[in-house]
């Protein structure tokens, strides 16, 4: 079975497995946030306490538990990445499929649009859009997705170009399968690997973008997100002031890095397992 060899070779690559485990831990943190800790709100009396048994990650300038903030922030980050991936997939996959399969004017047009979007400075554009549309967490997620689709479309297009040359596509046309079924079933099934890899990369960059936007003050101030925590720490001077509450930014930042590294490792693990050259 092809599927079994995929799983086997994925398990053999320890880094990919490590990524998968990390992803699972973060996903469960986010999903189970309400069970793990109370939603941090209001004020506390225990201000700027370093990490201790009671407050694993210490407390912030308002006396709120930073561990709770990180856990609830994971929920936001997962929500944002998920929505962004959905938006990017809904636009990017059909755009890539169509531009790879229809080689005429429509194909080159979509390809040109992908090209232009790939050269644009994406974060500044996100900033402009987020500043105008207002900073609800869903708005931010949609904006990230709207600007993440070109790389997904490019990967989809390149794989589609290769697959649509194969004889079984001609055979499907011959027996009267509709173009829509050919694109979304016959071709998509065969390019699922690279598309999946790119989706995990979009998950990773979406969190970087969301944290960046929140850090720059474009996040949703009413929701805990990792970027918002960092913004509060930065605004309070937690990095260079004396005495220095380093725990305010250190744990949150580490979680952003771990999240992104895990998704990147998962992506490259899948990629290696799919690629016959590196399989063994």
């Amino acid at each position: 079975m092809q599927n079994r060899t995929f799983v086997e070779s994925f398990v053999k690559k320890r880094l990919g497995l490590f990524g998968l485990l990390g992803v699972l831990v973060i996903v469960s943190l986010g999903l189970l946030a309400p069970l793990i800790s109370a939603y941090p709100k209001g004020y506390g009396t225990e201000i700027l306490l370093p990490p201790s048994e009671k407050f694993w990650f210490g407390t912030d300038g308002l006396g709120l538990d930073l561990f709770a903030q990180v856990v609830w922030g994971a929920r936001t980050s997962l929500y944002v990445s998920f929505v962004a991936v959905m938006v990017a997939a809904v636009i990017g996959i059909p755009a890539g499929l169509i531009s790879g399969y229809k080689k005429g004017l429509l194909g080159s047009l979509i390809d040109g649009i992908i090209d232009i979007f790939l050269t644009l400075p994406v974060l500044p554009l996100m900033i402009v859009i987020a500043a105008v549309v207002g900073s609800s967490i869903t708005n931010v997620a949609v904006v990230i997705g709207l600007l993440a689709w070109p790389s997904l479309a490019r990967v989809t297009r390149n794989s589609t170009l290769k697959v649509s040359e194969l004889q079984f596509i001609e055979a499907a046309r011959c027996v009267g399968i509709s173009p829509r079924m050919i694109l979304f079933k016959h071709i998509l099934l065969n390019i699922a690997g690279p598309v999946l890899v790119n989706l995990t990369l979009v998950m990773a960059t979406a969190v970087l973008s969301e944290s960046g936007l929140s850090f720059l003050g474009l996040g949703d101030p009413t929701t805990w997100s990792w970027g918002t925590i960092l913004k509060k720490a930065w605004d309070a001077g937690a990095v260079i002031d004396t005495p220095n509450p380093w725990w305010w930014w250190f744990f949150t930042s580490s979680f952003i890095m771990i999240y992104v590294i895990c998704f990147n490792l998962l992506g490259s693990g899948i990629n290696d397992a799919l690629n016959p050259k590196t399989r063994d």
Binding site: T119, L120, V132, V133, L208, W234, I240, S253, S254
Partner: protein, 320 residues
């Protein structure tokens, strides 16, 4: 070659045009009133009226678009809410600082990233290569503010070696002292942005070098008994560089994004910090102008990268 250049410039103009158009429609089509986004309600009624007319904000959206493109092309991007200066003036004060930062980072990235990538390719699957691969995954996962915080904490707060922010110590010194002072301030922002970007360059140099070393003509050269160093430098490097430089061009876009966060954390007085400040003060004309300026810079640097590729790649010259 001339043909290629013309096509390339047309594409660049199209990219700039698309960026400007996106910004135009986002500001116009959102529920928020574009007049309040582009004309400060605190300005006097006459000034408001003049601005409305200049940008045709009382006219139909089609006409507004034509006026907007005309004004943008002539370099008129409106008036800053905050400083009441023309947006172009505000941006032109900041742009040199961003370009300086980007210049340092691009140079460092290429000068250090390419040799590391080549070395990793030559010792493929060796210990060094594996180590580099781990670094690459870390590198592409870097969150710029985190790195900046860590650097500031360590070098500025803990060791007190380097300044905590800004581009120079006010009041600015004169002559060589000024340059030295700026250099000291530039170390951390450049290092941050460098680490955030060098991984991609190493990755692409490594992979394309591995591909090139497998090519027939390289193997022929080796089998002729040519010196390895000579073969790699003379034949392989040039071909391996083509994808690397192409990627470097594309990377500029994301590098500029990283620059916004870097400049914000280190208080580097460039366009990125300007974007952050205009978000906080809701200074939309400056925000819009800053984005268009960045888009233009990215496109120009892309053209430069493509010209270098064309110079390296004989096929493009012949194909004309």
């Amino acid at each position: 070659m001339a043909n290629y250049l013309i096509r390339r410039i047309l594409k660049a103009l199209l990219t700039i045009f698309v960026s400007a158009t996106i910004v135009f429609f986002i500001i116009r089509l959102m529920p928020a009133d574009p007049v309040t986004l582009l004309v400060d309600p605190k300005m006097g009624p006459e000034v408001q009226q003049a601005m409305m007319q200049q940008f045709g904000l009382d006219k139909s959206i089609g006409l507004q678009y034509v006026i907007f493109i005309q004004q943008t092309l002539s370099g008129n991007l409106g008036i800053s809410f905050k400083t009441r200066e023309p947006v172009t003036t505000v941006i032109m004060q900041k742009l040199p600082w961003t370009l300086l930062l980007l210049f340092i980072v691009v140079t460092l990235t290429l000068v250090i990233g390419i040799p590391i990538g080549m070395l990793a390719a030559k010792k493929r699957d060796g210990l060094f290569d594996k180590f580099i691969n781990v670094l690459i995954v870390m590198g592409i996962s870097i969150f710029i503010p985190f790195l900046s915080f860590a650097f500031l904490y360590f070098f500025a707060y803990y060791l007190k070696l380097l300044p905590t922010g800004g581009a120079y110590t006010p009041p600015p010194a004169k002559g060589f002292d000024y340059i030295l002072d700026v250099a000291r301030h530039a170390i951390l922002p450049s290092l941050t942005l460098f680490i955030g970007n060098v991984a991609t360059i190493i990755l692409y140099t490594r992979n394309s070098m591995i591909d090139v070393l497998k090519e027939d003509y390289i193997r022929t050269a080796f089998s002729k008994g040519w010196n390895e160093k000579y073969v790699v430098r003379r034949h392989a490097l040039k071909n391996a560089l083509i994808p690397t430089i192409t990627v470097a061009g594309i990377m500029i876009g994301s590098m500029v994004g990283g620059a916004v966060m870097t400049e914000t954390v280190y208080g580097w007085p460039g366009v990125g910090r300007l974007i952050y400040d205009s978000v906080s003060s809701m200074d939309f004309p400056v925000l819009q102008g800053a984005f268009i300026t960045l888009a233009v810079s990215v496109v120009v640097m892309n053209i430069i990268a493509d010209l270098v590729v064309a110079w390296l790649d004989p096929r493009i010259k012949l194909g004309g």
